[in-house]
Amino acid sequence: MIEMNIICAKKLCLYYRDFQALKDIDLDVPAREITALIGPSGCGKSTFLRTLNRMNDLIQGVKITGEVTYHGENIYAGQVDVTALRKSIGMVFQKPNPFPMSIYDNVAYGPKLHDNLSKAELNDLVERSLRGAALWDEVKDRLKKSALSLSGGQQQRLCIARALSVSPDVLLMDEPTSALDPASTMKIEELMGHLKQDYTVVIVTHNMQQAARISDRTAFFLTGDLVESGKTDEIFSMPKDKRTEDYITGRFG
């Protein structure tokens, strides 16, 4: 049986010291779909995304209550192996952040970390990951070149390849195209359409057209509240909440 919701947040609250950044968030993320998180700056959408692979652990003074389940298990329970969790739930960041090493080594970084692969297996995995991120044809002749020599859009696809290299289940994308030009953005959006056949994608985006174009489901955040969530076409055609309507029609944000 295929389980419907791969990630579920229940009564999730997050505090930065005294400031409450997320208020009682209940949200289910269905498998093999693209879920878009939208909302104005500072609404908590990125913060929420980072609770899903516990990246907020890195920030001092963060306190979390409620729970996030992944395949039914609470990832904030005591005995969870964060390393294994982050292997299953990969992340792509707003600014492309390839490591200062070769293209090949960037993609091989994760596999080397988790598995002991032979050179041939590793080569194969690097190729598959780069193909998965639609970058292989552009870089296959210069795998040993510095990743920093790539264009912004290529760097971001390299970061996607890097995330794919450890065979995750879920990909979290934090405004992955906001630092890119329109052509690169289009390529990545197209890529996401392919990715959802194999992966569950949660994407934070500033760009409502992007959410409408690529996502199956949309969740609208406002000042730490999850205002409304549902199928993207319903949210965009007949939002139930006045605030959602105001936001998607461009009245604020």
Partner: protein
């Protein structure tokens, strides 16, 4: 303005200021060039192969600095062996692991203060702690321990600066792939801050080469040839800088002092070229 020119008064004023700035620059550069030139002028003539390759002989009345070159080398190696693990380890801890911002700030303030303390105070500490306290002889080992304390703050500071240049996004990228903290430090942070760390170490070596006050009473002024490193550790040994001072003050032999000074300047020059080379070679790809 009609013809695009400044009024005479303002042009005169700006010309006057330009003159002053030029004069300051000329004085600064002139002093340095003059100093180095004078040292070389007085010293280079007294450097010979015999001077570099023999020990001082009272019988023959010849002076050679080979033992002191070796002592300097041994002292630096020993000091680095002590101070690098501690200093780099401390910097990694302070930057990557320490959770109390307050404690880190206090330690950073302390290291900054320590870095500015005159080295003669470290000599005092060295004598009290290592020679009177631990009962070590005046030796390369005692000198190296003293020099380790002296250079520790600098190594910690420069390593911290280097670690700080590594963008947060690299750390996040590694964590997001499931890297543990130590793995991330080993594979991302250290390689990409290596040029900064090595630069800091080379500059610290430069200071060690030039140090005299802290070593005079801890490492001593020995001039007998000891080629075995482990024997040298327990022998009194004057480094080049210390011997420069000794020859000038005790023997009144300024020729030798200037010769040593020329060699020291040359070493420091080499080290600075080394820094430039490291910066170019180890630049992140």
């Amino acid at each position: 303005m009609k013809n695009g020119r400044l009024p005479l008064k303002r042009r005169a004023y700006s010309g006057f200021l330009m003159g002053l700035i030029g004069l300051s620059a000329a004085i600064a550069v002139g002093l340095i060039v003059g100093l180095i030139g004078y040292v070389f002028y007085r010293g280079l003539g007294h450097i010979s192969w015999e001077f570099l390759s023999t020990a001082r002989s009272a019988l023959r009345g010849t002076i050679g600095i080979l033992p002191n070159i070796l002592f300097t080398l041994f002292l630096i190696i020993t000091t680095l062996a002590i101070v690098l693990p501690i200093g780099i380890g401390a910097a990694i801890y302070l930057n990557e692991y320490a959770t109390s911002r307050r404690l880190v700030r206090i330690i950073e303030f302390a290291t900054e203060t320590l870095a500015g303390i005159p080295s003669i105070i470290y000599a005092l500490v060295g004598v009290l702690l290592f020679i009177q306290g631990l009962g070590l002889r005046v030796s390369i080992l005692a000198g190296a321990l003293t020099l380790s304390i002296l250079s520790l703050p600098t190594i910690v500071r420069t390593t911290q600066e280097a670690l700080r240049t590594v963008p947060v996004s690299y750390r996040e990228g590694a964590f997001a792939l499931g890297a543990t903290k130590w793995y991330m430090i080993r594979t991302i942070i250290l390689p990409s801050s290596l040029d900064g760390i090595v630069t800091g170490v080379i500059l610290a070596v430069g200071r060690m080469v030039g140090e005299s006050a802290a070593l005079l009473f801890t490492a001593g002024t020995g001039y007998f040839l000891v080629t075995n490193y482990f024997e040298a550790l327990h022998a009194s040994g004057g480094t080049l800088s210390v011997m420069l001072f000794v020859y000038a003050t005790e023997h009144g032999n300024f020729d030798v002092s200037f010769a040593i000074a020329s060699i020291l300047i040359f070493i420091v020059l080499l080290l600075n070229f080394g820094v430039k080379l490291v910066k170019r070679k180890l630049r992140r790809i």
